[in-house]
Amino acid sequence: MASASEPRKPDGQKPAALTIDGLSLEFPTYAGAIKALDDVTIEIGNSEIVGLVGESGCGKSVTTMAATRLLPEGRYRVTSGSIRLFGRDPFAMDETELQDVRGKLVSTIFQEPMNALNPTIRIGKQLVGVIQRHEAVSREEAERTARGILRDMLIAEPERIMRAYPFELSGGMRQRVLIAMAFSCNPGLIIADEPTTALDVTVQAVILRLILDRAKRTGTSVVFISHNIAVVSQLCDRLYVMYAGRIVEAGPTRAVLESPQHPYTQALLRCLPERVEPKAELEAIPGTVPNLLDPPQGCFYRPRCPEANEQCFAKPPSMAPAPDHLVACWRRETIQPSMISEAQQ
């Protein structure tokens, strides 16, 4: 492995926030097993901001849910690989240990702030509930902590917000409350699962900035899950690009964006509306995401790939070094950056 593509190792003693090593996972159904994840390897160091990018259904959320064991028990099978959450194996934990870990070590920020708060309970009570679940503090102290975090989230009158019910708040406001909730017990890792997808563009930047600033200040690692490579690229130190349950490209954000090697990453970047002239046709990737019940032979991207040849039929490619990062493509040497610019014209 090229040294540049190695995830940054922390000081040595502290285990990485999340290490997923060669994880393969499937959902058994009547029609057969859906291979949701295939040999996924991800490493998230401490205080590292990492992006996980890919189309809907490519396994971004499944990966992180597997890490905290939030997938419905008994409905999935891990066929190979291992997960280490701060050095601990979530599959070796019992339900109580998992509950202690969730919220304390790992928190999640959800995509839908409109539905992620209980409509029948006041905001303050929900926040205090999370804090008291994990910290042995008095009610007053928990309330003080809650007010402090809300104020950090640029909420002007935390007292009033805490007395409010969720329906009294706007989407952006609720997402701030949820971010406060996620950070309330100072977790080591935050999973931000498309935190701004449901929000107005005008508040997206504010929300992302709030998450990033707080994480930087507290040394929390963050995984940004998104289908928008442009949003993620501005926030993250490193990127993982997923396609159909496999990691296809990984590395430092700059390297991935400046010299994308995988045809899929290249296509994703071409599809960004920002890069298109006004009134010009928006680009789309031809074909559809493969059916994971019956995946294509060889490379999963092959049916949509303009560069595919016989080699791509034979065997799925594994991650191999490319300039400054890793890519899983048989054709990586033959695809030149010049071809990207040609395609863009």
Partner: protein, 297 residues
């Protein structure tokens, strides 16, 4: 932090009890029938609580000189075959009839919701077993099953209450299970799990409060029907035993005199009718309040 002001959202000030009362009044005014229902229920409650103050006579006091008298100034609803004042007996009868109905609803809601939530959370074979058992209970005609149970346990008010409660349990099990199944897929329940909430905490704080409104509606609407069933059991002699005054039992005895002493059956029957109607009106009103889609006006 000067940045905060443009970002701050306005939240209405927390409402005190006064504005809550006002809100309640507004909702009630929208449908006067609900108000009628509320008035009836309040009247019945006053009757139950203040029976000794309202009733002009001791309900069990015999006055053989004044048997089967027609309604008059002294005896508003007339007297029965041993000269007891019917008005007083109906007032006191509200205790047995309505408290029984209320207890039945309470028991069936409590047990039904507990079983339903459990069934919904556990799922799998336990869920299937519980739901099939409920199907069996539901397949039997309610009154017949209640009669059989009350007869088997021995005729008494408590036994008939248990029998009716058992018959009503499946309705609440299904309701609570359905609610649990739909609620546990909500994002806030999933979010609660990611914050480390235990299943019990989720049940108490996320499932129950949100499942409550259809259950409350069902319970109030049921109350009217249960007043009828409880009265029916007493009517056929499986409920309250003499000398306890109970509306169904009063109608039952009055049946013997229906041709010549019309008032004997009529007034207890009216009491049952009005109470059941009051419960239904209130239930409808609560349903309209809790379900904005039905509001319409």
């Amino acid at each position: 932090m000067s940045v905060t002001s443009p970002l701050a959202q306005s939240v209405p000030a927390a409402s005190g009890w006064k504005s809550r009362l006002h809100f309640l009044w507004y909702l009630t005014r929208r449908s006067p029938l609900t108000l009628v229902g509320v008035a009836i229920i309040v009247m019945v409650i006053i009757m139950i609580v203040a029976a000794p103050l309202i009733a002009p006579y001791n309900p069990d006091k015999l006055m053989l000189s004044a048997r089967l008298q027609a309604p008059s100034a002294q005896h508003w609803f007339g007297t029965d075959e041993v000269g007891r004042d019917l008005f007083s007996r109906i007032i006191y009868g509200s205790r047995a009839s309505c408290v029984a109905a209320f207890m039945i609803v309470l028991i069936s809601v409590g047990v039904g919701v507990a079983i339903g939530c459990l069934s919904g959370i556990l799922g799998g074979r336990i869920d299937t077993a519980i739901m099939r058992l409920m199907d069996v209970i539901m397949a039997l005609p309610a009154l017949v099953l209640a009669m059989a149970l009350a007869a088997a346990l021995g005729p008494s008010l408590v036994n008939s209450m248990l029998a009716v409660a058992l018959v009503r349990i499946p309705a609440y099990v299904r309701l609570a299970r359905g609610q649990t199944l739909s609620l546990r897929e909500r994002v806030y329940v999933k979010a609660a799990r990611t914050f480390g909430a235990s299943p019990l905490y989720i049940l108490r704080w996320h499932l129950l409060p949100n499942a409550m409104s259809p259950i409350i509606v069902q319970a109030t609407l049921d109350l009217g029907g249960i007043v009828l069933i409880a009265a029916a059991l007493s009517f056929i002699g499986l409920g309250a035993q003499p000398p306890t005054s109970e509306w169904g039992a009063l109608v039952s005895t009055g049946r013997n005199y229906i041709l010549d002493q019309w008032w004997y059956c009529t007034f207890p029957g009216l009491a049952i009718l009005i109470t059941a109607m009051g419960c239904n009106l209130l239930g409808d009103g609560i349903r309209d309040m809790l379900d904005p889609r039905l509001g319409g006006r």
